[in-house]
Amino acid sequence: MQFKDNPVFAMLFLEAVAICLLISFRFINLESTVNLLWFNLLFVSMTFILKAPLNRKLGLLALGNVIGVFCNFYYRLFHSAGCLIFGDPFSLVYVILYPFFNFMWIVTFWSLSLAALSSQAKRRR
């Protein structure tokens, strides 16, 4: 079976998403898990109805979750580093900037995914 039809890949991608959610919850914080859930909701609702192989969409979803985990991990490090250098008040700067950072990676990744799916759809036509 080809990649696009293979249910094994679909399961792998879904497992990757689940693992990312667990990692974010266990090793980062609850907010990062909420962010990933929000990303998943947005991605599934806005991208899964487009015409493209399901495995490709699941692959992009899994990749997005991985990138999300890395980004949130970095933001957590950013917070710790900032508090170390600037002291405890840096936490407030972090709280204020955190939502902006999260939307940046969500929008960038979603836009690139859409471009990839558009190219694929155009090639099929």
């Binding site: 914080n29 710790s80 580093a81 900032g82 170390l84 250098i85 936490s91 972090y94």
Partner: protein, 109 residues
């Protein structure tokens, strides 16, 4: 005092683990990795701006060929404008030729 307590709560994650960094790593994370990450997030946009590969706006113009007049921007009297087609182009000539061409397949048969 009240603010400090709240900040301390923020500093710990849900299960109590904390990220501990040495000062050098902290500086690298804050002043190197951060800007690089932001640059990476905007990199696709920068690439597309510098070397655009998008095909541009959709083509919406006519597929039907029409006589096109050459026109110079600015004040140019139409008498001096160059025409690709005769302005009094005689469509009846086209109909006559078409009628002749229409007959030809019958000879072939």
């Amino acid at each position: 005092m009240e603010v400090k307590i709240v900040i301390s709560e923020l500093d710990l994650n849900f299960l109590g683990a904390a990220f501990v960094l040495d000062p050098t790593s902290a500086v690298i994370v804050l002043f190197v990795v951060g800007p690089v990450l932001i640059f990476i997030l905007f990199l696709p946009a920068i690439v597309e701006l510098k070397k655009p590969r998008d095909r541009g706006p959709r083509l919406i113009m006519d597929k039907i060929p029409t006589p096109k007049l050459s026109f110079l921007y600015g004040i140019v009297p139409l008498d001096k404008v160059e025409f690709e087609w005769e302005r009094d182009f005689d469509l009846s000539l086209i109909h006559s030729v078409a009628a002749i061409i229409e007959v030809l397949p019958k000879f072939e048969a």
